[in-house]
Chain length 341, copies 2
DNA sequence: GCGCTCTACTAGCGCGCTCTAGTCGAGTAC
DNA sequence: GTACTCGACTAGAGCGCGCTAGTAGAGCGC
């Protein structure tokens, strides 16, 4: 038994063993005309026998193009998982390879993106980037970039997102119709879509004549943020200020954290307080009573992002494009009439 | 403004602009002795100016080694997210690059692994693989492979997992001490660790003289599995068979699904029924009342896996190795005394 | 016979890098 | 002066492929 450093077979090995030229092997593996069926067969058989597998580094170097899409995402962001699942099949359908690079503790977006570019990805798909517009624009000049979830108005990147305003509006209508007036918004800080959601929340409150009840608690798109917001609401209650009757969370994760904190404090949802999330990541179904949330169609967004990237690569599209998908409120168990209502 | 197909600068461009040879640029970028500080500086400045960035495909092709670890994981498996977060820093510390490849709908483990090997990963780290031992062994012969979460006894791969038996035993002791007797296990099917957990469950039941109560509901490591199991338990209750007083779920996801179903049916946890999970993925903290679960230290497991891979690559370790980490029961809110107890 | 086309195949350059085996010049020893 | 060392740098082969330009041979019409 050899050591782990065994030589991996190359095209030349296959060619020799099959008694043909390297070029012919190349032709066979690229599935191009120029080889007889018999030869094709023999080459493939030999290749299989000796365990040959094309080296994508060399292949990539040789042809100018890598036909690879890089995806930057955040491990732990359940909605990103949904998106990644949608990206793979669409990329494969269009003949592209996918490389993932995650951001994590100690591995910022810049590092994740550099890794992708170093591997010669032709385009970078950013899932819910938190980067400065300036940096995103710079990236868009260096390569083809698509931002998913966050619109980047004046940058040279395509973007795919949902009509945040529309989604928030639906959620707010829902709550107001149920009779809520004291509706608080925990926002997503610099998270994707946050600005738009916050704005839409404010507008909705005003439209319903609730500007005096308007309140935005700063947060971000994490469970911790929901927990923190929950704690401060509870602390306020203990100091005499009543709880709001409904909370519009920045996203599902935030809603989850909030729900956890409320439950621990004995606040019953939706009897005492209604909670609405955003994303409809698969988290939402897992809540015991089901999270009322605004659904973003992850698969559709993913497909759209891939298509944007590929079209730009292949047709040299010039203008930045923007796909705005329609979100849809999904009512589940965390929203109901307000306590006194 | 050029089209997207702009030429990316190469070492030759840097060399020319800096007035040195390509080799010197290479030396500078590999941070190797053989260049004066002034030259080094100049080269780096020029490179930065024209936006040069080493092409890892070419680099990888040129030196024999890629210094890249491939990680196969399942998007949506929260515990994998925890592991991935641990893998990045340890790999970086040891000077290795990481490539992720996810399994997903329509993209099986074989496809995910092929992608990694095609990209010249020197080793493959399999997170919770579901593949046949035969296939894993074959992979181990083709490359360096490490299996995390699942032990693969007679295969040529290293493995990292926790002492499943020990974890289950702790969970069972906990439940029995609380007074439970009717303890059901929803198993993880072919999922990693399932066999061992099932066996340990059986052994514990027998040891406590509860073989008549012993019951394993077939499942897998998904929320759906917990939902299904919950539904059948509820259906049985409606036909007169009493609910068990405790359920040991195959993993946290399964526990979550179960909890959801129970809550919807008005079964209160832990008053009517106790639930224990397995993994302590970050899901566990998010449960409103906190999931009692068996903690596996993801970071430690990740580091261990990376080290195994790297050591095998660099020292040609011959014997398959196995790291067995100690799990630890983490009691939270989903376990309590049985109804009548 | 000739020229033509068409299929099946091959030679060999080049992708952007690494790395070995050098060269060159300044410094040191005697 | 010669003989050496040492640091700074370069020439050029080669990594495993893709691809262009080509050849050899069969088949066809005249």
């Amino acid at each position: 038994m050899e050591t782990s450093g065994r030589q991996r077979p190359t095209m030349a090995d296959v060619a020799e063993k099959a008694g043909v030229s390297r070029a012919l092997v190349s032709i066979v593996f690229r599935d191009q005309p120029g080889a007889s069926p018999q030869t094709r067969d023999r080459v493939l058989r030999v290749a299989d026998e000796i365990g040959y597998r094309p080296d994508s580094a060399a292949r990539l170097l040789a042809r100018g193009r890598s036909r690879t899409l890089g995806v930057m995402f955040t491990v732990r962001q359940p909605f990103h998982a949904d998106l990644v699942e949608g990206i793979y099949p669409e990329a494969e359908r269009l003949g592209y390879d996918v490389l993932l690079s995650a951001t994590a503790q100690g591995r910022g977006e810049d590092k994740a993106v550099e890794a992708l570019l170093g591997h010669r990805c032709e385009a970078v798909i950013l899932l819910g980037t938190d980067a400065q517009p300036v940096d995103i624009d710079a990236l868009g000049h260096r390569t083809v970039a698509v931002s998913v979830g966050r619109r980047v108005p004046h940058a040279r990147v395509d973007s795919v997102h949902t009509a945040e305003g529309k989604g928030v509006r639906q959620a707010m209508e829902h709550l107001v119709e149920l009779g809520h007036r004291g509706i608080v918004h925990i926002d997503g800080g610099r998270g994707p879509g946050s600005v738009e959601r916050r704005r839409a929340y404010r507008a909705a409150m005003r439209r319903h004549g609730l500007e005096r009840e308007l309140r935005v608690i700063p947060g971000e798109h994490t469970e911790q943020s929901g927990i923190d917001a929950g704690r401060s609401l509870l602390a306020e209650r203990d100091h005499g200020r009543p709880l709001p009757t409904a909370v519009l969370a920045g996203n599902d994760r935030c809603a989850m954290g909030l729900l956890m904190t409320l439950a621990q404090a004995g606040v019953e949802v939706p009897r005492d307080l209604s909670v609405v999330g955003y994303d409809d990541s698969h988290l939402s179904h897992l809540m015991p009573i089901g999270l009322t949330t605004v659904r973003q169609d992850a698969v559709l967004m993913a497909e759209c992002a891939v298509r944007f990237a590929v079209e730009r690569l292949e047709n040299a599209v010039s203008e930045p494009r923007e796909a705005v998908l329609a979100p849809k409120l999904t009512v589940r168990g965390t929203s109901g009439p307000p306590p006194g209502g």
